[in-house]
Structure formats: C-alpha cells, structure tokens
C-alpha cells in the first residue's frame, strides 16, 4: 500500500483556449509510507500544481491519484494530510495559538486538548511566547513557522509542503529542517516537499524528484542514500555532496532554451 500514487496524471489549465497551459503531462509518482520525497525544478514546472493534485485542491485533467489507497478526494474529506503553502496564510483575526488550533477545531477536538496541542506545537517551532499575539505582529519568517505548526498540529499521516522554509533565515531554516526530520521519523509521517534549494532537498529526502517545465513533467528521480539518522554532521558527509551533485546534474538538463546555459533558473544553490 503506497501513501501517494499518481498514475498518468496531467493538468491542463484553460484547455482549448489561447491561454492553455500544459502544467503537468503524464506524471507518474509513487510515495511509500514514511518516505520523504522532494519535488525540485525551475519555476513554473508544475511543482505546486502536482502538490495541489495530491491534495485534491485541483482535479487532474487525466489520470488517477490515490492517497492512502483512497481516492484523493476521500482522503481530503478524511483529513488525511496537513498542508503548508508557499504563503503563511494565517488568519489575521485569530491569535497565533488559535491559528494553530484551526484544523483541530475543524476536527472537533475539545478545547483543553486543542490548547495543549497548540502549546506543544509552539514550543516545537520555538515561538512559545507568541501564543497570544496576532499574526500581523510577527515577522514573515515567524508567520511561516506558525503555518508549519498549524500543518503539523493534527499529526496527519501525510504532510504536503510547498516551499515552507523559503521565507526563513538560514539558521532557522536548518533548525526547522532538523525538527521536521525528527517529527516525521517519530510519527512515521510521509512527506511530499516542494523546494528550490538543492541542499535542502538532499538533506531531507529519501528521493528527490526532478521536474522540468513546458510541459511540466518528471525527468529524473534521484535516490539519496544518507540513511535514516541524519544530524548536523550529515551536512558535511561525502554522500551529502554526492547527492547535491547528482541533483544538480539532473537539473542542468531541465532549463528551457531561454535560460542561460549552466544556471538553472529559479533553483538556488545554497
């Protein structure tokens, strides 16, 4: 039983009009339970679209998508996944703690249980003293951490994350990467993770899925053999650099004709 199974999925926006965009064409992807899979590729190659298809926020034009052996829409109704978007998207009128409690409220948890979990999540993202502040009183990076806490709050079996760490400073980013790995291995969470950062993809993932644009498709899947116990030392390991090189090689083939040779547009090397 796979956690996510995408079979021959395509997504065409505005089909049959002059504005037609082939965002994804014939995508096949299987994610096993407990696996951490990253999607990487130049801007506009359909990473967010693929994530939205898995989340059932978009219907595929063709193809089949199952999540936890159910249809994607059934999984969404069963709240099988948590999602963190590119933008934090916190509610201005709710305190930080109440924002984290939102998915729990919708699941019908009682008040005490919600408050306890929100407190726990705030400690996890290292912002416990901000519980009663409002999102607009926080910096962009802090808001993003709250959004991550919100996605993790219900301990969903599947996490879908769209560049969640893009707005964070390097230190916080590395800290959050470590925490994410820890939480996911503790709770056996499956993750599909969109990123623009090659080291981030390699450090976090069991597999890195490399995509290319026009039309959006998967060009290569790279296995990362860093093992399951990754620490800060992993960032200095030979295997880590090998992985980075492999992903960079794969990405080199993906940039379209307009991009400058060598540099892959939209993919950071840090």
């Amino acid at each position: 039983m796979s956690a996510v199974n995408v079979q021959g999925a395509s997504k065409i926006f505005n089909q049959g009009t002059p504005k037609q965009v082939d965002a994804l064409v014939d995508v096949n992807l299987t994610v096993e339970p407990g696996e951490f899979v990253s999607l990487i590729g130049p801007s506009g190659c359909g990473k967010s679209t693929l994530l939205r298809l898995i989340a059932n926020l978009l219907e595929p034009t063709t193809g089949e998508i199952t999540v936890n052996s159910k249809t994607a829409s059934q999984s969404r109704l069963d709240q099988d996944y948590g999602m963190a978007f590119q933008q934090a998207g916190l509610f201005d009128w709710r305190t930080v703690a109440k924002n984290i409690e939102l998915p729990l409220e919708l699941k019908g948890w009682d008040k005490a249980k919600r408050a306890a979990r929100a407190k726990e999540m705030l400690e996890l993202v290292k912002l416990p003293e901000f519980a009663d502040m409002y999102p607009w009183q926080l910096s962009g990076g802090m808001q993003q951490r709250i959004a991550i806490a919100r996605a993790l709050a219900a301990h969903p079996p599947l996490l879908l994350m769209d560049e969640p760490f893009g707005a964070l400073d390097e230190m916080t980013r590395e800290y959050m990467q470590g925490e994410l790995l820890r939480i996911c291995s503790e709770t056996k969470t499956t993750v599909v993770f969109v990123t623009h950062s090659i080291p981030e993809a390699v450090y976090l993932s069991n597999r890195v899925v490399v995509m290319s644009p026009r039309p959006g498709r998967i060009t290569e899947v790279i296995n990362v053999s860093l093992g399951s116990n990754r620490t800060e030392d992993t960032r200095g390991a030979d295997e880590f650099f090998k992985g980075i090189t492999a992903v960079r090689e794969a990405l080199r083939g993906t940039h379209d004709d307009h991009a400058n040779a060598g540099a892959v547009r939209g993919v950071e090397d840090r």
Binding site: R76, D78, Y81, F85, G89, F91, E105, L106, W136
Partner: protein, 293 residues
C-alpha cells in the same frame, strides 16, 4: 494614555470643533447674507438670513428651556428628548430588521450564485422606489393586518420603512465582504475538508468584518432616515418626525421651535452612528493597524 483613548479624545474634540464651526458660519451668514435672500433672474440662490428663516443660535438653544406651548409646564427639551427616544427605538428596531434581512440575503447570495444573479437587480431596483410613495402603503397595514392573532402595530410600519433603507447597504457590503476571503485561505479551509458553514463562520464572516462595519454605518443612518420620513409622511405620533411637522407649522410665529426638533433628529442619527462606531472599535481592535507587506 492608551492610543485608543487618545484617538477617541481627538475624535471627540474634532467633532465639537466642527459643530462650533458650523455655528460660527451660521451666524456669519446672518451678518453678511441678504435679509430677503439672493435671487438671480427670479430664482432663489441664497437663503434668507432674517430671524424667521434663520434664527440666532442662542435663540434656538434658549428655546429648549421654555415650555412647548404657552401655559404648559413641559419644557420643550423634555418633549424633544422623548420624541427622539421614541424614534431612536424605532430606528434600532428597523436597523435590527434590516441587518437581519441584509445579512441573510448576502449569505444566500454568497452561497448560491443563482440567487445573486436573480436577486441583486431587484434589490437595486427596490432602492429606487421613493420612500414617500411606499410609506402610506406600509403604514396602512397598522392595526389592519392580522397574522395568526398578531395585529400589526402602527410603529412597526415606521420600523419597516427604516429597515427598507437599512438592508440594502448592509446586504451589498456584507456580500462584498464575504467574497473578499482570499483564495489561499479558502483553499486552506478546503484542504481541511471544512463544510460551507464552517468556512462561512470561521473564514468568510471574519474576513467580511472590515466591509460590514462601514455598511452597517450606512444602514444605521438609513434606518433613522426611513423612520423619520415615515413619521413625517404619515404623521405617526410620538416620534421626532411628528414634532418636526408640528413645529414647522409654527415657523412664522416661533421660528426657533422647529430647529429644536431638527437638532433632536440629528442627535438621533449621531446616537445610531455612535452605536456602530463602538462596535467598529470593538470588532477591529485586534486587526492590523498598519498595512505591512
């Protein structure tokens, strides 16, 4: 001092200042304006500044301290106050009816695009019906219409006319507000498989508040206008509208009298606006004060 207190002091003093300014302009015009009005080719373009058309501020104010009619022991301020209080309660009732209908309609329109397409044009047309034409019809229901043992009281007609003017801005403003929820937030709610009702109460309504507050302000003043016009055009007893027509008849002999009632009506509108302003402060106190990017 808290910023809130400072802001309310500032606002109050600006309000007092503007009232004083209007008074000064009034007296200034009386000084320099033509006694019998200004006419160009026979058309009146400037109001008359004599004491019958424009009494002095002090004679209007001192009029409050004298009896309503000669020999009566009720001073006019208490009569005006009682009338304003009566109309105020009608306005609140009208506002409540209008707000309920307005918000209800906006929720329906937000839920069903069909309803919006079918209903919105009629709502717009409804506002072009002159209130004066509608008032006698609705007031004629008073005491006659009988629904399941409930006899339609006369005052309810005035409240309904207030509601008629109040519901429209509230419906339109709330509808815009409900539609203002960002698509990313709607997507978030949908990723939680939130029901339409949960999305309405946890996302759409909170997001609509900044649109609803000004709409409710318009609705509140609409309710006052509706009630006062209903009272004036139908002569409903007890309210400030009736006092205005009664006192206007005495305008030649006692010109300051009608102004006491007019100010009463203005105070009534201010009270309603104050109502909404307080809710504004309460509802918006935890919202972003400055837009950050």
């Amino acid at each position: 001092m808290s910023p809130l207190a400072r802001r309310s002091i500032y606002r109050t003093s600006m309000f007092v200042l503007s009232v004083v300014l209007v008074g000064v302009l009034w007296e200034l015009y009386k000084l320099i304006g033509p006694e019998d009005g200004g006419k160009i080719f026979g058309a009146a373009v400037l109001p008359r500044s004599n004491d019958t058309a424009m009494p002095h501020i002090w004679s209007m104010l001192s009029r409050y301290g004298r009896p309503e009619v000669r020999g009566s022991d009720r001073q006019i301020w208490s009569v005006v106050l009682a009338g304003a209080w009566y109309s105020f309660r009608l306005s609140v009732a009208g506002f409540a009816i209008g707000a309920t209908i307005g918000v209800g309609l906006s929720v329906l329109m937000a839920r069903f695009k069909m309803v919006e397409r079918g209903l919105l044009p009629y709502l717009v047309v409804s506002q072009t019906v002159p209130l004066i034409a509608l008032a006698p019809l609705i007031v004629s229901w008073g005491g006659k219409v009988n629904i399941l043992g409930f006899t339609w009281p006369k005052w309810l007609s005035a409240a309904v006319l207030g509601a008629f003017l109040a519901f429209f801005p509230i419906a339109v403003g709330t509808l815009r507000g409900l539609a203002s929820a960002p698509s990313a937030s709607l997507e978030l709610m949908s990723s939680y498989a939130a029901s339409w009702k949960q999305t309405l109460f946890k996302l759409r309504f909170p997001a609509a508040i900044p649109f609803m507050v000004p709409a409710f302000k318009l609705g509140a003043s609409g309710a006052v206008v509706g009630v006062v016009v209903a009272e004036i055009s139908t002569g409903l007893k007890g309210g400030i509208g009736r006092l205005i027509i009664e006192y206007a008849r005495e305008a030649t002999g006692d010109p300051a009298k009608v102004f006491t009632a007019v100010f009463g009506a203005a105070a009534l509108g201010l009270a309603m606006a104050g109502f909404v302003a307080i809710s504004d402060v309460l509802l918006m106190r935890n919202r972003p004060k400055e837009t950050t990017t």
